[in-house]
């Protein structure tokens, strides 16, 4: 079985999740088994994944696993379905708070909170606050959107959480965690416990140990001598230190989704990206490292010389359907348009794209930029402040349009001519790959990793020296004033997208799967199965 390890999945996600989704569809299409693995408890996990066409049997959430809730027939639970064990109840709805207050006579029995309209228009129960007959709030029950009580929090008399309990689908406690005061007197999670169906109780001091138990059980469950279980760490933070501790062998893979170096311009010498520092230092304990670009694979090999297998597999996949679409000639597009679909964050440096446009403005007065994406307001709104300043300095205020997030990225890309980037660093940049598949011509700094590989200089766009706004502006001006060249490069953008076709990316994955099988044959030769004989009770002795 192939496991793609992540932490959580929500309505809004980042590039890593998108990469996983694309990979999932590719594996499904090629009938290779896989599971998306999540570790966070999330009552809406299946909801959000299902919105992204992921099936229940392709999801393996740790809490689902312990709760036997991997595949649950959904049920609608509404306020009236909650059994308080008390007769003669009245329900006072407070629609502004999405809840009912439930009374018996004049005494409060509970508060039933329901999911907001954007999740469910049936007022499905999200949580229930329970009161005892003496008016104490003693517990809060949280419901999964699929319609079962998933986790409960037991309260202390002074209204703090004492114990959290996760229930199996048939109502047994299966995971528990506790809150106690630490040495500073602050309440803190102080321990975990799991209880199996057979009654085996395991204690854990932290979530990581819980994850290790989970991964061990999963590895045992899918263990096969023919093929290894392949664990791909897409987010490595919570598993990088425990995967090598699995009891039975497996094939463990570190997947780099970003530059391994803190300064992507100095990949061979700069301080390591703290997200990957631990896993790269421990690279010898994994079986393989995947990079999304050849350039990064090369740099990783050059800098660390790891002895494990190195693979280059693009994180983007362009669906076959895309290649069948009619190509849109440059003349049918919005003239002098540049587009970017990305989070508007400081490290994306869109202000520099605007400054580059400033240089092109003289030759191309109608040059304009459309940005689509969530605005990252962190660091005191640095990103927007810089953009506004650049607009002002270049006099392009009316030619820069900042739109929100769009659901139809392809549509806006299809209407534009250039795709502009000036990021500090990238892991791959799915958006640019998609833009190229829509025929956009890329203009970018020489940025590791992705843009400088997606854009092949002089073929499907231009790669200029990092930070050289003037050069970037010159390439924009050149393209907008040379329609034939622009069209030629757009054709190349369509052509070179073949690098990321389903067929070609699957070829890259197949290399890894075959390589893992080969290595597995050696590993399994050395594997000693655990002792199962002679350890049960065989006589009356104690």
């Amino acid at each position: 079985m192939n496991f793609f390890i992540n932490e959580n999945f929500n309505e809004k996600n980042s590039g890593i999740e998108h990469a996983q989704l694309k990979r999932a569809l590719l594996f499904r299409k090629n009938k290779a088994p896989f599971k998306l693995v999540f570790q966070s408890w999330n009552p809406l996990l299946h909801h959000w994944l299902s919105e992204n066409q992921i099936h229940d049997d392709e999801i393996l959430n740790m809490f689902d696993y312990f709760q036997h809730a991997e595949e649950v027939k959904p049920k609608v639970v509404q306020a009236q379905d909650i059994d308080f064990g008390v007769d003669n109840l009245t329900y006072n709805e407070e629609p502004n708070h999405n809840r009912y207050i439930v009374f018996h006579d004049k005494a409060i029995v509970g508060r039933v909170n329901y999911f907001a309209k954007n999740i469910s228009d049936q007022k499905q129960v999200s949580s229930v606050e329970l009161f005892d007959g003496f008016g104490n709030l003693y517990r809060v029950d949280f419901y999964d959107l699929r319609g079962f009580k998933s986790m409960v929090q037991w309260y202390t008399p002074d209204n703090k959480i004492a114990t959290e309990v996760w229930y199996s689908i048939d109502g047994k406690p299966v995971v528990e965690s506790y809150y106690r005061k630490n040495a500073l007197g602050k309440m803190q999670k102080s321990g975990w416990k799991t209880i199996s169906d057979e009654g085996t109780v395991r204690t854990h001091s932290g979530m990581n140990e819980l994850v290790l138990q989970f991964l061990n059980e999963v590895n045992d469950k899918y263990f096969s001598k023919k093929h290894p279980n392949i664990f791909i760490m897409d987010r490595s933070d919570t598993v990088e230190d425990i995967l090598p501790l699995l009891r039975k062998p497996a094939y463990n893979v570190l997947h780099l989704h970003n530059s391994h170096a803190g300064n992507a311009q100095k990949p061979n010498t700069s301080i390591m990206n703290d997200n990957y520092e631990y896993s790269l230092i421990n690279g010898d304990r994994y079986d393989a490292i995947i990079s999304a670009t050849h350039k990064q694979t090369h740099d990783v090999k050059y800098r660390f010389d790891p002895k494990c297998d190195l693979y280059t597999i693009p994180v983007g996949v362009i669906p076959d359907a895309k290649f069948k679409q009619k190509r849109i000639p440059m003349s049918d597009r919005d003239p002098y348009s540049i587009v970017a679909t990305a989070r508007i964050a400081p490290e994306k440096q869109f202000d520099q794209v605007i400054r580059a446009m400033g240089y092109a403005k003289k030759q191309v007065p109608k040059i304009h930029l459309d940005l689509y994406g969530y605005v990252d307001h962190s660091h005191h709104d640095t990103a927007m402040k810089r953009i506004k300043k650049a607009e002002k300095d270049t006099g392009l205020t009316d030619q820069v349009h900042i739109h929100g997030y769009t659901q139809d990225v392809a549509d806006v890309q299809r209407k534009a001519q250039l795709y502009g980037l000036a990021s500090v660093m990238e892991g791959f940049n799915l958006a640019m790959m998609e833009a190229q598949s829509e025929g956009d011509v890329g203009v970018t700094y020489d940025v590791n990793y992705g843009p400088n590989e997606l854009v092949q200089n002089n073929q499907n766009g231009y790669v200029v020296k990092y930070g050289d706004e003037k050069a970037l502006g010159a390439k924009m001006a050149y393209l907008f004033t040379h329609p034939k060249e622009l069209q030629k490069m757009s054709d190349q953008a369509y052509e070179l997208s073949n690098r990321y076709s389903e067929k070609n990316v699957w070829k890259d994955w197949k290399k890894l799967l075959d390589g893992a099988d080969q290595k597995w044959a050696h590993k399994i030769k050395l594997y000693q199965p655990e002792i199962t004989k002679g350890i049960e009770q065989m006589d009356e002795g104690v």
Partner: protein
């Protein structure tokens, strides 16, 4: 008696029981012997209940416990789950380190994650499992049933006090939740919730509310009569709406000063106020052990129906015993059996033994039972030391069954110094061992068991010298001893199963 079921309502059967429980168990055996349907019905949670009733010669069918009922474990097989072979511990990861026969530690990487308390009276079976967090706090505690399954889990509040409890069925599914929160600022059980009971949850505010519901559910299935052995349960029993009849059974004298028990001036034990001041009219009557007590109640509470039935019956074949002649007695062992508690005035026993010793130097006194408190134990031990009776007075552990029979067989005379009794079942049991008996003549019971100068002596309350004199007289006159002994055996017939059962049959 009709085909009714008789329910003997009680709190519990303990590891160390008092007369109240012995009486109920004795009655259960009696009713079994005469094929009258009955069960002991208990309220309290007790992980060792089925072990205890077995020790006392009863079986699973003789008892119906509230928690058992809701857990669907009134009758489940007995499994001996040994810690070292239990699936509870995954020994691939955790180490079990034995501390002693009663306790083991569970270690993970050298860190103590749990303590297992071995079930009492077993070899290596799981009793309780106490789990710790990273900081060494107790987080939760699994309570195992003697029959070998995890029966409930207690979760602690962060301050270490009991938080909530989950009670399980045999397969580990929760059937009841108990919350412990504040009532007027004091931590108390505040909720008992039955889960999925016949398809519904049911919330109760107190354990007694739940107990009322439980009794009603049982009576719905098997209608019958409630006989309440415990004054603490007077109110819940009164609330039951579907009992054929209900009776309060009184095991003791009713007033704090037994001498005033027949007088309106006598002060009721507070625990009895619920019955006599509130719920009396809801009961079909009260059952006491002696005609004397019945007479007093008739006088004081004319509207209350009262029945006198001894709260113990004897099962031995007395005729044979008598024909076999008297057992040889080659010692001067005095015995007291019962609670070692202040109200039994054990200090008098010790003083009496001291007086006897002056005349009969090799006299021994065995005091058999459990101490009411460590403080009282210390007080008595000091007294023994002070009177230089270390070789005379022996405290023996609480004994039942064969162990108790052996002690009684090896005794020569039974002694009792309590200031108040309902009947004194220990004196009754002494009769069937042919023991002459010496006791204070108090309300109620001793004068029903001891016929003065026939099978022993009744002594004015507190007259220790007189008690000693009578004991010396019996022990130093072999013929008198034999006569008294024979008379005791003869008198035991009054308390024979046949006789006691015939009185039960008169119950309306």
């Amino acid at each position: 008696m009709n085909n009714n079921m008789y329910y003997f309502v009680n709190e519990n059967i303990f590891t160390f029981n008092s007369g109240t429980e012995f009486s109920a168990m004795n009655r259960q055996k009696l009713f079994n012997k005469y094929d009258v349907n009955s069960k002991i019905m208990t309220r309290n949670y007790n992980q060792g209940l089925h072990q205890e009733i077995r020790k006392n010669g009863l079986g699973d069918d003789d008892i119906i416990n509230m928690y058992d009922y809701f857990q669907h474990v009134t009758k489940v097989p007995y499994h001996h789950v040994k810690l070292r072979y239990s699936k509870m511990i995954d020994k691939r990861y955790y180490k079990i380190r034995g501390i002693d026969n009663n306790k083991s530690m569970i270690l993970l990487h050298g860190h103590k994650v749990a303590t297992v308390q071995i079930f009492p009276s077993t070899v290596g079976e799981i009793g309780n499992v106490i789990y710790y967090d990273d900081f060494g706090n107790v987080t939760s505690k699994d309570i195992w049933d003697a029959r070998g399954f995890k029966s409930k889990t207690q979760y602690m509040h962060p301050d270490g006090q009991l938080g909530h409890e989950l009670v399980y069925d045999y397969h580990g599914k929760p059937v009841m939740e108990i919350a412990h929160m504040n009532i007027n600022g004091k931590l108390s059980p505040t909720m008992y919730k039955l889960l999925d009971y016949n398809g519904h949850n049911l919330r109760f505010n107190t354990e007694d509310d739940l107990f009322v519901f439980f009794m009603q559910e049982i009576l719905k299935k098997h209608p019958g009569v409630l006989i309440n052995d415990r004054p603490t349960l007077t109110e819940p029993v009164a609330k039951v709406n579907n009992a054929e009849k209900r009776y309060q059974l009184l095991h003791n004298v009713q007033t704090t000063d037994a001498k005033l028990s027949g007088s309106p001036k006598g002060k009721l034990f507070p625990i009895l106020e619920q019955f006599f001041h509130k719920d009396m009219n809801k009961y079909d009557g009260i059952i006491v052990s002696t005609e004397d007590q019945k007479r007093d109640f008739n006088k004081l509470f004319p509207s209350l129906r009262c029945y006198a039935i001894p709260d113990v019956a004897l099962f031995k074949d007395h005729e044979k015993e008598i024909q076999k002649g008297l057992k040889p007695v080659d010692n001067d062992n005095l015995i007291y059996i019962g609670r070692i508690a202040e109200d039994k005035h054990i200090d008098h026993l010790i003083q009496i033994a001291s007086f006897v010793k002056n005349k009969i130097s090799d006299v021994k006194l065995n005091i058999v039972g459990y101490f009411s408190s460590p403080k009282y134990q210390k007080q008595l031990e000091n007294q023994v030391k002070k009177l230089n009776l270390n070789d005379v007075v022996k405290f023996k552990n609480y004994s039942i069954g064969k162990q108790k029979a052996k002690l009684l067989s090896n005794s020569k005379l039974m002694l009792q110094t309590s200031f108040g009794e309902g009947l004194s079942m220990n004196l009754v049991e002494g009769l069937e061992y042919g023991l002459p008996e010496v006791a204070y003549d108090v309300h109620y019971g001793p004068n029903r068991i001891i016929k003065n100068d026939v099978n022993g002596y009744l002594i004015p309350q507190g007259n220790m010298q007189e008690a000693a004199n009578k004991i010396v007289r019996i022990l130093s006159d072999d013929d008198l001893y034999k006569q008294f002994s024979k008379n005791s055996l003869e008198h035991a017939k009054d308390f024979s199963a046949d006789n006691v059962m015939s009185q039960w049959k008169k119950l309306g």
